[in-house]
């Protein structure tokens, strides 16, 4: 009983909210990437692999160069290059984009372990390397406010970037010519082509943007959340991000909400581990919530249609 109280305290404490924000970060970044790619008509299911590879490259680069900045650039470039490879295969060579993405995911899982063992002799993690983490940011004034300071201040810089990205992605998609082109290419490529827009170039750009966003999520995992690279450390976040995007639809704000839902359910699963519940069950909570949320979403949609039908009958 006492234990349970502790747990509930854990879930409803301010630290929990802070943890939720932290856990949301990688999912949010990848989900925004999924959104951009999806609207362009080129669904990117390689987010998982791109995150993983960026996480790996970031850690290794920081360990070997000692520079956080170079590690940051290298991580982002990794995301861009992998998205470019996906784009090249699917747009130029006309392979099925889902197949190409699956290949990238499998390659990333094996490729990072292989490179890790060559570089460090360890196949499990990069703990033996001395790598760096991105700094946390203390927001002046706000951090002095009791509760609010604990929640908002002191996160890693990438967490702040992630939340700023919600607005940046919304702006790009709905306020710029590039966004207009991305949306038109995704919906009616023929119409876009007829006014001289290059469908391939636009989809290429969208995939690169989605790759860069995912790579930020990957960098956060290995250089913020923890300070090492471990095999398959993305643990399905790239796929959860796809679910978050499906929930959020075509709006960056909706996608952000979807990501927060998954982030907080994952945070809750960590808190619940302190109870006597087998960890296999607590760890599966985010995935169960994914299924439940998607089912709820589908149910809502069906009900919406039913409601319209009924209104007409009246």
């Amino acid at each position: 009983m006492n234990q349970m109280n502790n747990t509930l305290n854990g879930i409803f404490s301010w630290d929990f909210i802070s943890a939720g924000i932290r856990v949301t970060t990688p999912v949010l970044l990848a989900a925004l990437g999924a959104l951009v790619a999806d609207l362009a008509g080129t669904p990117n299911i390689a987010l998982e692999g791109i995150m993983l590879f960026s996480a790996f490259v970031g850690v290794i680069t920081s360990a070997f160069t000692g520079s956080l900045f170079i590690a940051f650039i290298a991580g982002i470039l990794t995301g861009a290059v992998m998205a470019a490879i996906l784009a090249y295969f699917s747009l130029k060579l006309k392979t099925d984009i889902i197949m190409a993405a699956i290949a990238i995911n499998i390659f990333s899982s094996g490729g990072t372990i292989f490179a890790l063992s060559v570089l460090t002799g360890d196949k499990g993690s990069s703990a033996s390397l001395k790598s760096y983490v991105f700094p946390s940011v203390t927001i002046p004034i706000i951090d002095k406010i009791p509760v609010l300071g604990d929640i908002l201040s002191g996160h890693h810089i990438i967490t702040y970037i992630a939340f700023i990205m919600i607005f940046v992605v919304h702006y790009i998609l709905y306020k710029t010519p590039l966004g207009l082109r991305i949306r038109s290419v995704g919906e009616s490529p023929k119409a876009a082509k007829s006014v001289g827009i290059s469908v391939m170039k636009t989809q290429f750009t969208a995939l690169i943007i989605s790759g860069v966003l995912a790579s930020l999520g990957g960098l956060f995992l290995s250089m913020g959340y923890v300070s090492w690279f471990a095999k398959d450390m993305t643990a399905g976040r790239g796929f959860i991000a796809l679910a978050a995007q499906a929930l959020g639809g075509s709006s960056a704000y909706g996608v952000a909400l979807g990501s927060v839902l998954f982030g907080f359910s994952e945070a809750a699963s960590y808190s619940l581990q302190f109870m006597n519940i087998p960890y296999e069950i607590t760890q599966s909570i985010p995935f169960l919530i994914t299924v439940a949320a998607l089912a709820f979403y589908a149910w809502k949609k069906i009900n919406y249609i039913k409601k319209i039908k009924n209104n007409i009958r009246k």
Binding site: T176, P177, R181, R183, A191, V195, G196, I305, I308, I312
Partner: protein
């Protein structure tokens, strides 16, 4: 200096497979005129216009635009020079707004952003100048087909087009929308724009065009001032022989009810009620025509009647029996010419001979112990090719290699030889050439004389009035008018009911049995 905006001189187009689409065509259009370009399908119109719009390269020939020869021609060049094209299938993005569609690709910018205020101001100026009002903030999917066409025309104008090519612009319009379009086109020419108008419809050419060029088999067969010609002259030029424009119909007395529809309702996947409690019957020896603007329930009606969609509420009886799928209905004596011939009518990658037996390959004639007998299949194909004048290289050609008109003839050849007692013909002549369309209409009338019941759905009102024995108008899923005496009906009368301006009450509609 000539007053021609465009001159295409001695244009040849020979494809790598040896097919000659254009044979030394000379085509010129005067500045400020509306020029009709006519010809049957496969006459070379599309190829010629694709060359003019830079989509395809001519094998030989010169293009002179505003008195100077154009070299290294392509589509971007054409747009920059001031040539615009309104395609038959609109090139619009449904979920974007009107103004977003218009500026797509040429977005005015302010910093990183799209300058939407500037865009709206600019577009609304053009809109007023040419008398083409459109709701700028409405999404494309929420506006009518006629509106969408205006958006397409505005798109070309905003890009600075002086010469606008309209590819069969009236195919999707109601008579009222057509006359609005014509008014707009006249305003455009008054303001100095030039228009090339591609069409099959002779009446329209007489009404709107100043001059015409007629193509046949890739060559120019005529070029004349429209005032000097009658419709008969023009059709003779197009087809190369006299065509009887009116179809002769022997009186036939309608017999027993063959199909009976009672209190039928249907709701689509989008939650919208497409058919609202309608009842009517189709009799032997009678052609019942359905008129209506696309999206008023005709598609769903055909879909339910033919068993392609399940009956949700109400009852349909075919010769006094209920059926629940297409195969059983076909076995019982229904034939179906679908509106979408590529999607439902044929299997495009299969050969012509296979498509000709796709409804009857299970019969003893064409298969034995589950193995197809290709000898009879071949003979059947050769027979149909001859009887229905299907033009093809071989009976083994994949159907998609045939022209639209010939694919439709193949569908018709199959559907008219199954010994049907009831034929559903949904847009049977859409997008095919005059001669083939005429052939199909005559076949429908002939079937009627054999006591077959016919349900004809068509957007071509002339065809509907000419072929049908009675016409039912559908508007928003309801029957809003019925005409038994078609001598008193013309297109504009039908149009008013189709648009919902008028509707008959139950007594005026009367007996629908």
């Amino acid at each position: 200096m000539s007053d021609n905006i465009i001159e295409m001189i001695n244009i040849w187009k020979i494809y790598s497979n040896g097919f000659i689409a254009n044979r030394g065509i000379n085509f010129s259009v005067k500045t400020g005129e509306i020029h009709g370009l006519l010809g049957e399908n496969g006459a070379g119109k599309s190829t010629l216009m694709n060359i003019l719009f830079g989509f395809e390269k001519a094998t030989e020939g010169k293009i002179i635009y505003k008195n100077s020869e154009v070299h290294n021609y392509n589509a971007d060049r054409a747009i920059n020079m001031g040539i615009g094209m309104v395609h038959q299938h609109f090139m619009l993005v449904p979920s974007l707004t009107v103004v977003e569609n218009i500026i797509l690709g040429i977005e005015p910018r302010k910093g990183f952003s799209t300058d939407i205020t500037k865009a709206e101001k600019f577009v609304s100026e053009e809109m007023k100048k040419y008398g083409l009002p459109v709701p700028l903030d409405e999404k494309i999917k929420n506006i009518t087909v006629g509106m969408r066409q205006r958006v397409e025309i505005l798109k070309t104008l905003v890009r600075g087009a002086d010469l606008i090519i309209l590819d069969e612009p009236t195919a999707v319009l109601t008579p009222q929308e057509t006359s609005e379009l014509f008014t707009a086109l006249r305003t455009l020419t008054e303001k100095g724009k030039t228009i090339i108008f591609i069409t099959h419809k002779l009446g329209e050419i007489k009404e709107i065009a100043d001059r015409i060029t007629v193509l046949r088999k890739g060559a120019v067969v005529g070029n004349a001032q429209v005032n000097d010609l009658t419709e008969k002259d023009i059709s003779k030029m197009m087809i190369g022989r006299d065509v009887e424009l009116k179809i002769k119909k022997n009186p036939v007395k309608a017999g027993e009810k063959i199909m009976e529809i009672k209190n039928l309702s249907f709701t689509g996947n989008d939650g919208i009620k497409k058919i609202k409690n309608i009842s009517f019957s189709i009799r032997e020896g009678e052609i019942t025509g359905i008129a209506g603007i696309e999206g008023n329930g005709q598609t769903e009606l055909v879909s339910v009647i033919t068993g392609m969609s399940a009956i949700q509420s109400g009852e349909i009886k075919f010769m006094d029996k209920n059926y629940d799928n297409t195969e059983k209905l076909r076995k019982a004596g229904m034939s179906y010419i679908p509106a979408d011939r590529m999607e439902i009518g044929v299997s495009e990658n299969n050969s012509l001979e296979e498509n000709l037996i796709s409804d009857r390959f299970k019969t003893k004639e064409f298969s034995k112990f589950g193995i197809l007998s290709y000898k009879t299949i071949k003979n059947n194909a050769l027979d149909k090719i001859k009887k229905f004048d299907i033009r093809t290289d071989s009976y083994k050609s994949p159907v998609k290699m045939l022209s639209g008109g010939n694919i439709q003839k193949a569908v018709v050849a199959r559907e008219f030889t199954s010994g049907a007692k009831f034929i559903v013909a949904d847009q049977p002549t859409r997008g095919i050439d005059i001669a083939a369309a005429d052939f199909i209409r005559r076949l429908l009338v002939k079937e009627r004389e054999k006591k077959v019941g016919v349900l004809l759905v068509s957007a071509d009102l002339t065809e509907l009035i000419e072929v049908s024995d009675r016409i039912i108008v559908m508007y928003k899923g309801e029957i809003t008018a019925k005409f038994d005496d078609l001598k008193k009906v013309d297109e504009s009368v039908l149009g008013e009911y189709m648009l919902g301006i008028k509707r008959m009450n139950t007594e005026e509609i009367g007996d629908l049995e």
